[in-house]
Amino acid sequence: MTGPLVSIRDLSVTYRRDATSFSLRNIDLDIAPGERLAIIGESGSGKSTLALAVAGLLPPTAAVNGAILWSGQLQLPRGGRDIGFVFQDASASLDPVMAVGREIAEVAHTHLDQDWAQAERRALELLRRVKLPDPGTVLHAYPHQLSGGQRQRVAIAAAIAAGPRLLIADEATSALDTIVQAEIVALIRQLVAEDGMALLFVSHDIALAAELADRIAVFRRGEMVELGKANAVIQAPEHAYTKKLLDAHIGLDAEPMIAPVGHGHV
Protein backbone atom coordinates (compact mmCIF):
# COMPACT_ATOMS: atom_id res chain seq x y z
CA MET A 1 0.00 0.00 0.00
CA THR A 2 1.32 3.37 -0.99
CA GLY A 3 1.01 6.48 1.13
CA PRO A 4 -1.87 8.92 0.93
CA LEU A 5 -2.52 10.78 -2.29
CA VAL A 6 -3.32 13.95 -0.36
CA SER A 7 -2.34 14.74 3.22
CA ILE A 8 -3.98 17.73 4.81
CA ARG A 9 -2.10 18.83 7.90
CA ASP A 10 -3.38 21.33 10.45
CA LEU A 11 -5.04 23.34 7.71
CA SER A 12 -6.69 26.63 8.66
CA VAL A 13 -8.19 29.11 6.23
CA THR A 14 -9.50 32.58 6.93
CA TYR A 15 -10.68 35.16 4.47
CA ARG A 16 -8.76 38.29 5.40
CA ARG A 17 -11.66 40.63 5.71
CA ASP A 18 -12.53 38.92 8.95
CA ALA A 19 -9.40 37.24 10.28
CA THR A 20 -11.05 36.24 13.54
CA SER A 21 -13.50 33.85 11.95
CA PHE A 22 -12.13 30.67 10.44
CA SER A 23 -13.56 29.09 7.30
CA LEU A 24 -11.48 26.04 8.17
CA ARG A 25 -9.78 25.33 11.46
CA ASN A 26 -7.04 22.78 12.18
CA ILE A 27 -8.07 20.16 9.66
CA ASP A 28 -6.11 16.89 9.47
CA LEU A 29 -7.29 14.56 6.75
CA ASP A 30 -5.77 12.06 4.30
CA ILE A 31 -7.19 11.04 0.96
CA ALA A 32 -6.00 7.56 -0.07
CA PRO A 33 -5.38 6.71 -3.73
CA GLY A 34 -8.59 5.41 -5.29
CA GLU A 35 -10.83 6.05 -2.27
CA ARG A 36 -14.19 7.80 -2.36
CA LEU A 37 -14.30 10.35 0.43
CA ALA A 38 -17.41 12.44 1.04
CA ILE A 39 -17.27 15.80 2.80
CA ILE A 40 -20.68 16.70 4.14
CA GLY A 41 -21.89 19.77 5.96
CA GLU A 42 -24.36 22.63 5.91
CA SER A 43 -23.79 26.21 4.79
CA GLY A 44 -20.75 27.75 6.41
CA SER A 45 -19.26 24.37 7.27
CA GLY A 46 -16.15 25.00 5.18
CA LYS A 47 -16.69 21.99 2.93
CA SER A 48 -16.30 23.95 -0.31
CA THR A 49 -13.34 25.88 1.11
CA LEU A 50 -11.65 22.52 1.75
CA ALA A 51 -12.29 21.40 -1.83
CA LEU A 52 -10.92 24.68 -3.20
CA ALA A 53 -7.89 24.50 -0.89
CA VAL A 54 -7.01 20.96 -2.04
CA ALA A 55 -7.29 22.07 -5.66
CA GLY A 56 -5.24 25.23 -5.05
CA LEU A 57 -8.19 27.35 -6.11
CA LEU A 58 -8.61 29.56 -3.05
CA PRO A 59 -8.75 33.27 -3.87
CA PRO A 60 -5.59 35.30 -3.16
CA THR A 61 -7.42 37.02 -0.31
CA ALA A 62 -7.59 33.77 1.67
CA ALA A 63 -5.01 33.33 4.41
CA VAL A 64 -3.92 29.68 4.57
CA ASN A 65 -2.02 28.04 7.40
CA GLY A 66 -0.90 24.44 7.59
CA ALA A 67 0.03 22.16 4.74
CA ILE A 68 -1.50 20.18 1.93
CA LEU A 69 0.91 17.49 0.78
CA TRP A 70 0.41 15.97 -2.65
CA SER A 71 1.75 12.40 -2.85
CA GLY A 72 3.78 13.18 0.25
CA GLN A 73 5.44 16.23 -1.27
CA LEU A 74 4.94 19.92 -0.76
CA GLN A 75 4.76 20.55 -4.51
CA LEU A 76 1.45 21.83 -5.73
CA PRO A 77 -0.65 19.49 -7.82
CA ARG A 78 -1.32 20.81 -11.30
CA GLY A 79 -4.95 21.83 -11.66
CA GLY A 80 -6.62 20.02 -14.53
CA ARG A 81 -3.70 17.56 -14.77
CA ASP A 82 -3.45 15.97 -11.32
CA ILE A 83 -6.84 17.12 -10.08
CA GLY A 84 -10.11 17.36 -11.98
CA PHE A 85 -12.76 19.64 -10.55
CA VAL A 86 -16.51 19.49 -11.19
CA PHE A 87 -18.53 22.42 -9.88
CA GLN A 88 -22.25 22.68 -9.15
CA ASP A 89 -23.01 24.95 -12.08
CA ALA A 90 -21.71 23.49 -15.33
CA SER A 91 -22.98 26.44 -17.34
CA ALA A 92 -20.72 28.72 -15.28
CA SER A 93 -17.66 26.48 -15.62
CA LEU A 94 -17.97 25.79 -19.36
CA ASP A 95 -17.08 28.52 -21.86
CA PRO A 96 -20.45 29.51 -23.36
CA VAL A 97 -18.96 30.37 -26.78
CA MET A 98 -16.70 27.34 -27.17
CA ALA A 99 -17.89 24.07 -28.71
CA VAL A 100 -17.85 21.45 -25.96
CA GLY A 101 -15.55 19.15 -27.96
CA ARG A 102 -12.98 21.93 -28.14
CA GLU A 103 -13.40 22.65 -24.41
CA ILE A 104 -12.55 19.03 -23.59
CA ALA A 105 -9.83 18.78 -26.24
CA GLU A 106 -8.14 21.85 -24.77
CA VAL A 107 -7.49 19.96 -21.53
CA ALA A 108 -5.88 17.06 -23.39
CA HIS A 109 -3.93 19.44 -25.65
CA THR A 110 -2.64 21.47 -22.71
CA HIS A 111 -1.79 18.70 -20.26
CA LEU A 112 -1.11 15.60 -22.39
CA ASP A 113 0.93 17.32 -25.08
CA GLN A 114 -1.44 16.06 -27.76
CA ASP A 115 -1.88 17.82 -31.10
CA TRP A 116 -5.35 19.09 -31.84
CA ALA A 117 -6.34 16.09 -33.97
CA GLN A 118 -5.37 13.68 -31.19
CA ALA A 119 -7.02 15.88 -28.58
CA GLU A 120 -10.25 15.99 -30.57
CA ARG A 121 -10.28 12.18 -30.86
CA ARG A 122 -9.75 12.03 -27.10
CA ALA A 123 -12.68 14.44 -26.61
CA LEU A 124 -14.93 12.20 -28.71
CA GLU A 125 -13.89 9.15 -26.70
CA LEU A 126 -14.58 11.02 -23.46
CA LEU A 127 -18.04 12.09 -24.61
CA ARG A 128 -18.76 8.40 -25.18
CA ARG A 129 -17.39 7.55 -21.74
CA VAL A 130 -19.70 10.03 -20.03
CA LYS A 131 -22.55 8.43 -22.02
CA LEU A 132 -23.71 11.42 -24.00
CA PRO A 133 -26.03 10.37 -26.80
CA ASP A 134 -24.71 11.02 -30.31
CA PRO A 135 -21.22 12.18 -29.19
CA GLY A 136 -20.22 13.03 -32.77
CA THR A 137 -22.88 15.77 -32.79
CA VAL A 138 -22.34 16.87 -29.18
CA LEU A 139 -18.67 17.47 -30.02
CA HIS A 140 -19.74 20.51 -32.04
CA ALA A 141 -22.56 21.66 -29.73
CA TYR A 142 -22.43 24.68 -27.44
CA PRO A 143 -23.31 24.42 -23.73
CA HIS A 144 -26.65 26.24 -24.10
CA GLN A 145 -27.82 23.59 -26.57
CA LEU A 146 -27.51 20.88 -23.90
CA SER A 147 -29.65 20.07 -20.86
CA GLY A 148 -28.31 20.64 -17.35
CA GLY A 149 -27.49 16.95 -16.94
CA GLN A 150 -25.76 16.83 -20.32
CA ARG A 151 -23.71 19.91 -19.46
CA GLN A 152 -22.59 18.27 -16.23
CA ARG A 153 -21.51 15.19 -18.23
CA VAL A 154 -19.42 17.49 -20.45
CA ALA A 155 -17.89 19.13 -17.36
CA ILE A 156 -17.01 15.68 -16.02
CA ALA A 157 -15.45 14.71 -19.36
CA ALA A 158 -13.31 17.86 -19.25
CA ALA A 159 -12.38 17.21 -15.61
CA ILE A 160 -11.06 13.71 -16.34
CA ALA A 161 -9.57 14.48 -19.77
CA ALA A 162 -5.98 14.60 -18.55
CA GLY A 163 -6.32 11.47 -16.41
CA PRO A 164 -6.15 13.09 -12.97
CA ARG A 165 -5.54 11.01 -9.86
CA LEU A 166 -8.10 12.95 -7.86
CA LEU A 167 -11.58 14.03 -8.95
CA ILE A 168 -13.25 16.69 -6.82
CA ALA A 169 -17.01 17.08 -7.20
CA ASP A 170 -18.33 20.09 -5.26
CA GLU A 171 -22.14 19.84 -5.04
CA ALA A 172 -21.88 18.55 -8.60
CA THR A 173 -25.38 17.06 -8.60
CA SER A 174 -27.19 19.54 -6.33
CA ALA A 175 -28.78 21.58 -9.10
CA LEU A 176 -29.98 18.50 -10.99
CA ASP A 177 -33.29 16.74 -10.54
CA THR A 178 -33.31 13.47 -8.62
CA ILE A 179 -33.28 11.17 -11.64
CA VAL A 180 -30.43 12.98 -13.38
CA GLN A 181 -28.59 13.20 -10.05
CA ALA A 182 -28.73 9.41 -9.68
CA GLU A 183 -27.40 8.98 -13.24
CA ILE A 184 -24.51 11.40 -12.66
CA VAL A 185 -23.60 9.77 -9.33
CA ALA A 186 -23.57 6.35 -11.05
CA LEU A 187 -21.36 7.79 -13.80
CA ILE A 188 -18.90 9.30 -11.31
CA ARG A 189 -18.76 6.00 -9.41
CA GLN A 190 -18.00 4.12 -12.64
CA LEU A 191 -15.36 6.57 -13.87
CA VAL A 192 -13.38 6.73 -10.62
CA ALA A 193 -13.44 2.91 -10.44
CA GLU A 194 -12.30 2.43 -14.04
CA ASP A 195 -9.53 5.02 -13.85
CA GLY A 196 -8.45 4.34 -10.27
CA MET A 197 -9.09 7.98 -9.35
CA ALA A 198 -9.68 9.10 -5.79
CA LEU A 199 -12.92 11.04 -5.34
CA LEU A 200 -13.55 13.98 -3.02
CA PHE A 201 -17.33 14.32 -3.06
CA VAL A 202 -18.57 17.49 -1.39
CA SER A 203 -22.28 17.49 -0.59
CA HIS A 204 -24.94 18.75 1.79
CA ASP A 205 -26.83 15.47 1.29
CA ILE A 206 -25.84 12.82 3.82
CA ALA A 207 -27.87 10.09 2.07
CA LEU A 208 -26.20 10.77 -1.25
CA ALA A 209 -22.80 10.69 0.47
CA ALA A 210 -23.72 7.41 2.15
CA GLU A 211 -24.61 5.82 -1.18
CA LEU A 212 -21.39 6.85 -2.87
CA ALA A 213 -18.56 7.14 -0.38
CA ASP A 214 -16.20 4.73 1.39
CA ARG A 215 -15.60 7.30 4.10
CA ILE A 216 -17.53 10.33 5.27
CA ALA A 217 -16.12 13.45 6.93
CA VAL A 218 -18.68 15.66 8.65
CA PHE A 219 -17.87 19.37 8.77
CA ARG A 220 -19.46 22.05 10.88
CA ARG A 221 -18.46 25.71 11.13
CA GLY A 222 -15.01 25.09 9.73
CA GLU A 223 -14.22 22.08 11.89
CA MET A 224 -14.23 18.40 11.08
CA VAL A 225 -16.44 16.90 13.79
CA GLU A 226 -16.46 13.29 12.60
CA LEU A 227 -14.57 11.07 10.18
CA GLY A 228 -15.18 7.41 9.60
CA LYS A 229 -16.27 4.62 7.33
CA ALA A 230 -19.56 5.55 5.67
CA ASN A 231 -21.43 2.65 7.26
CA ALA A 232 -20.19 3.53 10.73
CA VAL A 233 -20.96 7.23 10.41
CA ILE A 234 -24.49 6.50 9.20
CA GLN A 235 -25.33 3.63 11.52
CA ALA A 236 -23.40 4.59 14.63
CA PRO A 237 -22.62 8.30 14.51
CA GLU A 238 -20.40 9.49 17.35
CA HIS A 239 -20.87 13.23 17.23
CA ALA A 240 -24.15 14.86 18.30
CA TYR A 241 -24.09 17.02 15.20
CA THR A 242 -23.89 13.99 12.91
CA LYS A 243 -26.88 12.54 14.76
CA LYS A 244 -28.72 15.82 14.25
CA LEU A 245 -28.02 15.73 10.52
CA LEU A 246 -29.24 12.15 10.30
CA ASP A 247 -32.39 12.98 12.30
CA ALA A 248 -33.12 15.93 10.03
CA HIS A 249 -32.88 13.77 6.91
CA ILE A 250 -36.33 13.15 5.45
CA GLY A 251 -36.12 9.94 3.48
CA LEU A 252 -38.78 7.73 1.95
CA ASP A 253 -39.18 5.91 5.27
CA ALA A 254 -39.64 9.05 7.41
CA GLU A 255 -42.62 9.35 9.73
CA PRO A 256 -45.31 11.53 8.12
CA MET A 257 -45.36 15.00 9.68
CA ILE A 258 -49.07 15.48 8.99
CA ALA A 259 -52.31 13.97 10.17
CA PRO A 260 -54.58 12.80 7.37
CA VAL A 261 -57.23 15.24 6.15
CA GLY A 262 -60.68 14.01 7.11
CA HIS A 263 -62.35 13.96 3.73
CA GLY A 264 -62.18 12.01 0.54
CA HIS A 265 -60.96 12.91 -2.91
CA VAL A 266 -61.47 11.53 -6.36
Partner: protein, 265 residues
Protein backbone atom coordinates in the same frame (compact mmCIF):
# COMPACT_ATOMS: atom_id res chain seq x y z
CA UNK B 1 -68.34 12.10 5.68
CA UNK B 2 -69.41 14.97 3.47
CA UNK B 3 -67.07 16.16 0.77
CA UNK B 4 -65.97 19.66 1.50
CA UNK B 5 -66.10 22.22 -1.26
CA UNK B 6 -62.65 22.51 -2.86
CA UNK B 7 -60.82 25.74 -2.16
CA UNK B 8 -59.09 25.56 -5.52
CA UNK B 9 -60.39 23.69 -8.55
CA UNK B 10 -58.33 23.62 -11.72
CA UNK B 11 -59.63 22.01 -14.90
CA UNK B 12 -58.17 21.61 -18.38
CA UNK B 13 -55.32 24.02 -17.68
CA UNK B 14 -53.06 24.17 -20.74
CA UNK B 15 -50.03 26.28 -21.64
CA UNK B 16 -47.75 25.97 -24.64
CA UNK B 17 -44.59 28.00 -25.19
CA UNK B 18 -43.20 28.69 -28.64
CA UNK B 19 -39.45 28.36 -28.64
CA UNK B 20 -37.30 28.74 -31.76
CA UNK B 21 -39.91 27.28 -34.07
CA UNK B 22 -40.98 24.41 -31.85
CA UNK B 23 -43.92 24.22 -29.48
CA UNK B 24 -43.15 23.17 -25.92
CA UNK B 25 -46.10 21.90 -23.94
CA UNK B 26 -45.53 23.15 -20.39
CA UNK B 27 -48.97 22.13 -19.09
CA UNK B 28 -51.47 19.92 -20.88
CA UNK B 29 -55.04 19.49 -19.67
CA UNK B 30 -54.19 19.78 -15.97
CA UNK B 31 -57.06 19.16 -13.57
CA UNK B 32 -56.64 19.13 -9.81
CA UNK B 33 -58.24 20.42 -6.65
CA UNK B 34 -57.18 21.48 -3.17
CA UNK B 35 -59.39 21.51 -0.07
CA UNK B 36 -59.09 24.00 2.79
CA UNK B 37 -56.16 23.20 5.10
CA UNK B 38 -54.87 20.58 2.69
CA UNK B 39 -51.40 20.22 1.19
CA UNK B 40 -51.22 19.11 -2.43
CA UNK B 41 -47.74 18.46 -3.80
CA UNK B 42 -46.68 18.85 -7.42
CA UNK B 43 -43.68 16.62 -8.09
CA UNK B 44 -41.77 15.57 -11.16
CA UNK B 45 -38.42 15.87 -12.91
CA UNK B 46 -37.02 19.14 -14.34
CA UNK B 47 -39.20 20.37 -17.16
CA UNK B 48 -42.22 18.38 -16.02
CA UNK B 49 -44.25 21.57 -15.69
CA UNK B 50 -44.64 21.77 -11.91
CA UNK B 51 -43.48 25.37 -11.55
CA UNK B 52 -45.36 26.42 -14.69
CA UNK B 53 -48.60 25.02 -13.27
CA UNK B 54 -48.00 26.89 -10.00
CA UNK B 55 -47.40 30.12 -11.92
CA UNK B 56 -50.51 29.59 -14.05
CA UNK B 57 -52.59 29.19 -10.91
CA UNK B 58 -51.06 32.37 -9.47
CA UNK B 59 -51.74 34.11 -12.82
CA UNK B 60 -48.09 35.10 -13.09
CA UNK B 61 -48.52 33.67 -16.58
CA UNK B 62 -51.82 33.33 -18.41
CA UNK B 63 -52.96 29.91 -19.69
CA UNK B 64 -53.97 29.08 -23.27
CA UNK B 65 -56.96 27.16 -22.01
CA UNK B 66 -58.57 25.91 -18.83
CA UNK B 67 -60.36 27.14 -15.77
CA UNK B 68 -59.22 28.03 -12.25
CA UNK B 69 -61.86 28.40 -9.55
CA UNK B 70 -60.55 29.82 -6.29
CA UNK B 71 -62.84 30.26 -3.32
CA UNK B 72 -65.85 29.58 -5.54
CA UNK B 73 -64.98 32.31 -8.07
CA UNK B 74 -63.69 32.05 -11.63
CA UNK B 75 -60.22 33.34 -10.79
CA UNK B 76 -59.06 33.74 -14.40
CA UNK B 77 -61.96 36.09 -15.17
CA UNK B 78 -61.18 38.52 -12.33
CA UNK B 79 -59.80 41.92 -13.21
CA UNK B 80 -58.73 45.06 -11.40
CA UNK B 81 -59.78 45.55 -7.81
CA UNK B 82 -61.70 42.25 -7.66
CA UNK B 83 -58.54 40.42 -8.70
CA UNK B 84 -56.44 42.34 -6.18
CA UNK B 85 -58.82 41.53 -3.37
CA UNK B 86 -58.90 37.85 -4.28
CA UNK B 87 -55.15 37.72 -4.74
CA UNK B 88 -54.62 38.68 -1.12
CA UNK B 89 -56.04 35.25 -0.28
CA UNK B 90 -53.57 33.49 -2.59
CA UNK B 91 -49.95 33.96 -1.62
CA UNK B 92 -46.61 32.50 -2.60
CA UNK B 93 -43.20 31.63 -1.18
CA UNK B 94 -40.34 30.85 -3.55
CA UNK B 95 -37.01 29.07 -3.19
CA UNK B 96 -34.86 32.18 -2.95
CA UNK B 97 -36.28 34.96 -0.77
CA UNK B 98 -33.46 37.32 -1.78
CA UNK B 99 -34.65 37.06 -5.39
CA UNK B 100 -38.36 37.08 -4.51
CA UNK B 101 -38.28 40.00 -2.06
CA UNK B 102 -36.75 43.44 -2.35
CA UNK B 103 -33.14 42.95 -1.14
CA UNK B 104 -32.81 46.67 -0.40
CA UNK B 105 -35.75 46.68 1.98
CA UNK B 106 -35.69 46.14 5.70
CA UNK B 107 -37.66 43.26 7.19
CA UNK B 108 -40.27 45.77 8.43
CA UNK B 109 -40.65 47.24 4.96
CA UNK B 110 -41.07 43.78 3.40
CA UNK B 111 -43.92 43.09 5.83
CA UNK B 112 -45.40 46.58 5.63
CA UNK B 113 -45.93 46.40 1.86
CA UNK B 114 -48.79 43.89 1.81
CA UNK B 115 -50.47 45.54 4.82
CA UNK B 116 -50.37 48.91 3.07
CA UNK B 117 -51.21 47.71 -0.45
CA UNK B 118 -54.17 45.68 0.69
CA UNK B 119 -55.13 48.31 3.32
CA UNK B 120 -55.52 45.59 5.94
CA UNK B 121 -54.82 47.67 9.03
CA UNK B 122 -54.56 51.38 9.71
CA UNK B 123 -51.19 53.09 9.47
CA UNK B 124 -50.89 53.39 13.23
CA UNK B 125 -51.60 49.71 13.74
CA UNK B 126 -49.07 48.50 11.19
CA UNK B 127 -45.95 48.40 13.46
CA UNK B 128 -47.69 46.21 16.02
CA UNK B 129 -49.08 44.02 13.26
CA UNK B 130 -45.52 43.61 11.88
CA UNK B 131 -44.24 42.67 15.33
CA UNK B 132 -47.03 40.12 15.65
CA UNK B 133 -46.22 38.63 12.24
CA UNK B 134 -42.55 38.28 13.17
CA UNK B 135 -43.51 36.60 16.41
CA UNK B 136 -45.87 34.25 14.56
CA UNK B 137 -43.04 32.95 12.37
CA UNK B 138 -40.65 32.59 15.29
CA UNK B 139 -38.55 35.71 14.73
CA UNK B 140 -37.61 38.39 17.22
CA UNK B 141 -39.10 41.85 16.56
CA UNK B 142 -35.49 43.10 16.85
CA UNK B 143 -35.06 41.89 13.28
CA UNK B 144 -37.54 44.45 11.94
CA UNK B 145 -34.87 47.04 11.14
CA UNK B 146 -32.40 44.61 9.58
CA UNK B 147 -31.90 44.20 5.85
CA UNK B 148 -32.60 40.84 4.23
CA UNK B 149 -28.95 40.27 3.35
CA UNK B 150 -28.00 40.71 7.01
CA UNK B 151 -30.02 37.73 8.24
CA UNK B 152 -29.61 34.00 7.68
CA UNK B 153 -31.26 32.01 4.92
CA UNK B 154 -33.65 30.39 7.33
CA UNK B 155 -34.61 33.76 8.84
CA UNK B 156 -35.18 35.16 5.36
CA UNK B 157 -37.53 32.32 4.49
CA UNK B 158 -39.41 32.99 7.75
CA UNK B 159 -39.76 36.62 6.64
CA UNK B 160 -41.10 35.43 3.28
CA UNK B 161 -43.65 33.28 5.12
CA UNK B 162 -44.59 36.19 7.41
CA UNK B 163 -45.19 38.33 4.33
CA UNK B 164 -47.28 35.57 2.77
CA UNK B 165 -49.51 35.22 5.85
CA UNK B 166 -49.85 39.02 6.34
CA UNK B 167 -52.91 39.07 4.07
CA UNK B 168 -54.52 36.07 5.80
CA UNK B 169 -54.43 33.81 2.74
CA UNK B 170 -56.39 30.59 2.38
CA UNK B 171 -53.83 29.13 -0.08
CA UNK B 172 -50.07 29.55 -0.29
CA UNK B 173 -48.04 28.28 -3.23
CA UNK B 174 -44.72 26.99 -1.92
CA UNK B 175 -42.42 26.66 -4.95
CA UNK B 176 -39.35 24.70 -3.79
CA UNK B 177 -39.63 26.89 -0.68
CA UNK B 178 -37.54 24.58 1.53
CA UNK B 179 -35.24 23.16 -1.16
CA UNK B 180 -32.30 25.50 -0.64
CA UNK B 181 -32.35 25.38 3.17
CA UNK B 182 -29.94 23.44 5.35
CA UNK B 183 -31.60 20.25 6.58
CA UNK B 184 -31.68 21.36 10.20
CA UNK B 185 -33.38 24.61 9.22
CA UNK B 186 -35.68 22.85 6.76
CA UNK B 187 -37.36 20.78 9.48
CA UNK B 188 -38.09 23.92 11.50
CA UNK B 189 -39.61 25.69 8.51
CA UNK B 190 -41.76 22.66 7.67
CA UNK B 191 -42.96 22.55 11.29
CA UNK B 192 -43.81 26.26 11.12
CA UNK B 193 -45.80 25.71 7.92
CA UNK B 194 -47.68 22.81 9.51
CA UNK B 195 -48.46 24.89 12.59
CA UNK B 196 -49.83 27.69 10.38
CA UNK B 197 -51.89 25.15 8.47
CA UNK B 198 -53.40 23.78 11.68
CA UNK B 199 -54.16 27.13 13.28
CA UNK B 200 -55.07 29.28 10.25
CA UNK B 201 -56.44 26.47 8.04
CA UNK B 202 -54.11 27.43 5.21
CA UNK B 203 -53.91 25.11 2.20
CA UNK B 204 -50.59 24.63 0.40
CA UNK B 205 -49.68 23.89 -3.19
CA UNK B 206 -46.26 22.40 -2.51
CA UNK B 207 -43.97 22.29 -5.55
CA UNK B 208 -41.01 20.06 -4.80
CA UNK B 209 -38.54 17.73 -6.45
CA UNK B 210 -37.89 15.98 -3.11
CA UNK B 211 -40.12 12.93 -2.79
CA UNK B 212 -39.03 12.25 0.79
CA UNK B 213 -40.26 15.66 1.90
CA UNK B 214 -43.42 15.37 -0.23
CA UNK B 215 -44.23 12.03 1.37
CA UNK B 216 -43.80 13.41 4.90
CA UNK B 217 -45.37 16.84 4.41
CA UNK B 218 -48.13 16.58 1.78
CA UNK B 219 -51.55 14.98 1.98
CA UNK B 220 -51.80 14.27 -1.70
CA UNK B 221 -49.40 14.36 -4.63
CA UNK B 222 -49.70 14.95 -8.36
CA UNK B 223 -46.84 13.44 -10.36
CA UNK B 224 -46.02 15.20 -13.61
CA UNK B 225 -43.99 14.45 -16.71
CA UNK B 226 -43.77 16.59 -19.82
CA UNK B 227 -46.53 18.89 -18.62
CA UNK B 228 -49.00 16.05 -18.10
CA UNK B 229 -50.29 14.36 -14.98
CA UNK B 230 -49.06 10.76 -14.83
CA UNK B 231 -50.67 9.80 -11.53
CA UNK B 232 -52.11 11.39 -8.41
CA UNK B 233 -53.43 10.31 -5.06
CA UNK B 234 -52.59 10.03 -1.37
CA UNK B 235 -48.94 11.07 -1.06
CA UNK B 236 -47.84 8.01 0.85
CA UNK B 237 -49.85 5.59 -1.29
CA UNK B 238 -48.43 7.00 -4.53
CA UNK B 239 -44.81 7.27 -3.38
CA UNK B 240 -44.78 3.91 -1.58
CA UNK B 241 -46.24 2.18 -4.62
CA UNK B 242 -45.91 4.26 -7.78
CA UNK B 243 -47.74 3.00 -10.85
CA UNK B 244 -46.38 5.19 -13.64
CA UNK B 245 -42.95 4.71 -15.19
CA UNK B 246 -41.87 8.21 -14.15
CA UNK B 247 -43.18 7.60 -10.62
CA UNK B 248 -41.12 4.43 -10.35
CA UNK B 249 -38.04 6.18 -11.74
CA UNK B 250 -38.42 9.13 -9.36
CA UNK B 251 -38.75 6.89 -6.31
CA UNK B 252 -35.84 4.66 -7.38
CA UNK B 253 -33.58 7.71 -7.74
CA UNK B 254 -34.05 8.97 -4.16
CA UNK B 255 -30.80 8.42 -2.20
CA UNK B 256 -31.33 6.03 0.66
CA UNK B 257 -29.51 6.14 3.96
CA UNK B 258 -30.27 2.52 4.72
CA UNK B 259 -28.75 0.95 1.62
CA UNK B 260 -25.17 2.05 2.07
CA UNK B 261 -23.14 0.35 -0.59
CA UNK B 262 -19.63 -0.51 0.50
CA UNK B 263 -18.26 -2.53 -2.40
CA UNK B 264 -14.99 -1.40 -3.89
CA UNK B 265 -14.44 -2.25 -7.52
Amino acid sequence: MAMSEPLLAVSGLTKRFHRSGTIVTAAEDISLSISPAETLALAGPSGSGKSTIARLILRLIEPDAGRVDFGGENFLALRGSALRARRARLQMVFQDPLAALNPRATVARVLDDPLRIHALVSRSERPSRIAALLQRVGLSSDLADRYLHEISGGQRQRVAIARAIATKPSLIVLDEAVSALDVSVRSQILELLLDLQRTERIAYLFVSHDLGVVRAFAHRVVLLEGGRITEQGDARAVIDNPQSAIGKALVAAVPRLTTTIQERS
